[in-house]
């Protein structure tokens, strides 16, 4: 079996998990969703085999094209969920995350994304910086994705509390104050990683092009994403705009990343020769 076949199996399991999650939503997260956890754990196993097989076959960290980067981002998010899910009270998080895992995975499976040549050889200099900058970007987006998941939970719980739905207290959801802190901390983690990734990228650009700056669309886009998240954090930190607005910001921020990540990559001569 190829690494892609393993990933397809994982995507199938993410899909089943997503369908199962619909039932968990309908039940109001009252039950400890062990079944969903094991579905995601099984998917994670296939996903890990896919990543390892590709990594060993190319003898490098498999994050050099859009397919690989996307697969790596989802893998990181699933791993984080599986760690949180060890605590039974946090296992319900899977019901919020499995639709994200499935949708992003389906995007990753589009054939045009799996460019086996990786980045443009003209700009490609082998070395740790290349793998590290890609891995850090992937981890940053994974943190933003989890932050969006926590934000979505905040919005669901806040809505239920506002409209006096029984689900607000019958469910296993944590208090909204905790969800807001989790959203905030994950966003902090994401922006720290993104800052590090941008600094490494600038250093890498200097090495390959003799300049710390490039007007490549993906470079510009990365700075735009950084600016959006920085703005959100300043909004919460200095302007007391926490709560619902902040949670919407986390969800919208990641939606923007999801919707524009592939497009800007395709427009980028550096990343997509």
């Amino acid at each position: 079996m190829t690494d892609r076949n393993w990933f397809q199996i994982a995507v199938l399991l993410y899909g089943i998990s997503m369908i199962y999650s619909v039932f968990l939503w309908r039940k109001g997260f009252r039950e400890d969703n062990r079944v969903n956890y094991f579905l995601l754990l099984s998917a994670f196993a296939g996903h890990t085999i896919a990543l390892m097989q590709r990594g060993f076959s190319f003898s490098r960290c498999p994050v050099t094209n859009l397919y690989e980067a996307t697969v790596f981002i989802i893998w990181t998010m699933v791993a984080a969920y599986l760690i949180f899910g060890i605590w039974s009270r946090l296992r319900f998080l899977g019901a919020f995350l499995s639709p994200v895992f499935f949708c992003v995975s389906v995007f990753a499976l589009m054939p045009a994304l799996d460019n086996h040549h990786g980045p443009n050889p003209e700009f490609f200099v082998p070395g740790w910086q290349n793998s590290l900058h890609a891995a850090m970007f992937a981890l940053a987006y994974a943190a933003f994705g989890l932050s969006a998941g926590a934000g979505l939970m905040y919005l669901t719980q806040e809505h239920d509390l506002k409209f006096h739905k029984a689900r607000a207290i019958l469910s296993l959801m944590p208090p909204i104050q905790r969800l807001e802190v989790v959203t905030w901390r994950l966003m902090q983690t994401g922006i720290s990683l993104l800052t590090g990734a941008l600094l490494i990228s600038m250093s890498y650009l200097n090495k390959t092009q003799g300049s710390y700056w490039s007007d490549d669309p993906k470079v510009l886009w990365s700075f735009l994403v950084w600016g959006i998240y920085l703005g959100l954090m300043i909004m919460r930190w200095r302007m007391e705009q926490g709560g619902r607005k902040f949670a919407w910001g986390a969800v919208a921020g990641f939606a923007f990343v999801l919707l524009t990540f592939w497009g800007t990559n395709l427009l980028s001569p550096i990343h997509n020769p």
Partner: protein, 355 residues
């Protein structure tokens, strides 16, 4: 020898009758000995609470005979001269065991799923044990009943949630705030329900309570009881900056708190979440404030609806608990020595019936 149960509870009788049959704790050892001396029981436990009086007996007699004899014993011991019909129920094995397990698990309680009964049952068993009125049979069955109650508590939702207004308010607060330990509570209007609600919040660790009432003396009295502080009714808004939970129950005919008044107070609080519990009728807080960001308003109907939902959820769990209980009884009966079969078809498997 079968285990039988005879008794009366809140389903079968009124409190006026139950109180006639209640056994004071001090007379239980003596009553147990009397049953034994009269040849009614080889082993026995008497459970006497405000909602039930039950005799759990390992009888040397046939079940039907023992029901009659135990009923007479009850009447004689409690000096009751009237007629007892539907008020008393008698169960033979295995329904007597099923009944015991249900009682231990709170399934037969007035407040479905409550846990106080388990403590009362343990105490009743302990009295019998100390009086040396239990043996291998009841020891095993009661221990199993305690284990089953624990299992049901941890594996089902029968004891989950709040079924009173006060505890529903606590649950709401716990769904909004990370912890209650650094939350400040304000009580506006010192009514009975607001006092109970404030007590529930304090018992779950709320940091402090401020009481405001039109009668300052009443505010001071309640504040003292709650280990809090009283403020004059005209000054409550000035304390608002540090408040996280407000319980309002004044008898004012108009809104005490409206959107116009709350908006600047929220700014003072840096838009931290605020839980408003309005248990006054007519209402004290304008419903519009619920549309403000970070403000969560619940009135008495909302809280009662939450309590009802929990009760509904508990009722939905009954069938699940009953399956567990039946499985555990099968396990228990299969593990013990062969049981003497009943000689009476009617009570052979302990159909619930009045004697």
């Amino acid at each position: 020898m079968s285990v039988v149960v005879i008794g009366l509870n809140h389903h079968s009788s009124q409190v006026e009758l139950r109180e006639r049959f209640a056994f004071p704790e001090a007379v239980i050892p003596e009553a147990l000995q009397q049953m034994r001396d009269a040849g009614l029981a080889n082993e026995a436990v008497i459970l006497s609470t405000c909602n039930r009086v039950e005799l759990y007996v390992v009888t040397p007699q046939a079940e039907m005979e023992s029901f009659k004899a135990l009923k007479e014993f009850l009447k004689t011991h409690r000096q009751f001269e009237g007629e007892l019909n539907e008020e008393v129920y008698a169960l033979g094995e295995p329904q007597s065991l099923e009944h015991l397990f249900k009682v231990a698990s709170g399934l037969d309680s007035m407040l479905l799923g409550e846990t106080e009964i388990l403590g009362q049952l343990k105490k009743a068993y302990d009295i019998a044990l100390q009086s040396k009125q239990t043996g291998g049979r009841l020891n095993k069955i009661f221990q199993k009943a305690f284990n089953v109650a624990k299992y049901i508590r941890t594996h089902t939702n029968i004891q989950r949630g709040s079924v009173s207004v006060g505890s529903a308010a606590v649950e709401l607060a716990e769904k909004i705030f990370e912890t209650l330990s650094d939350r400040n509570v304000m009580v506006i209007g010192a009514g009975d329900t607001s006092e109970k609600t404030a007590r529930s919040l304090m018992s779950r660790g709320a940091k402090s309570v401020i009481v405001s009432n039109r009668s300052y003396d009443r505010a001071e009295a309640l504040a003292k009881e709650l280990n809090g502080r009283a403020v004059h009714f005209d000054d409550w808004a000035s304390e608002f900056a540090n408040i996280d939970i407000v319980i309002s129950s004044t008898s004012a005919p108009h809104y005490v708190l409206d959107r116009k008044k709350l908006a600047p107070l929220m700014a003072l609080r840096h838009n931290r979440p605020l839980l408003l519990i309005d248990i006054a009728v007519p209402r004290d807080i304008e419903p519009e404030v619920n549309f403000m960001e970070n403000v969560y308003l619940y009135n008495i109907d909302d809280l009662q609806a939450i309590a009802e939902d929990y009760l509904k959820q508990r009722r939905e769990e009954i069938a699940r608990c009953e399956v567990i209980i039946r499985d555990k009884i099968k396990e228990l009966l299969n593990s013990g020595p062969p049981r003497q079969q009943s000689q009476d078809g009617r009570f052979g498997f302990g159909q619930e019936s009045s004697t």
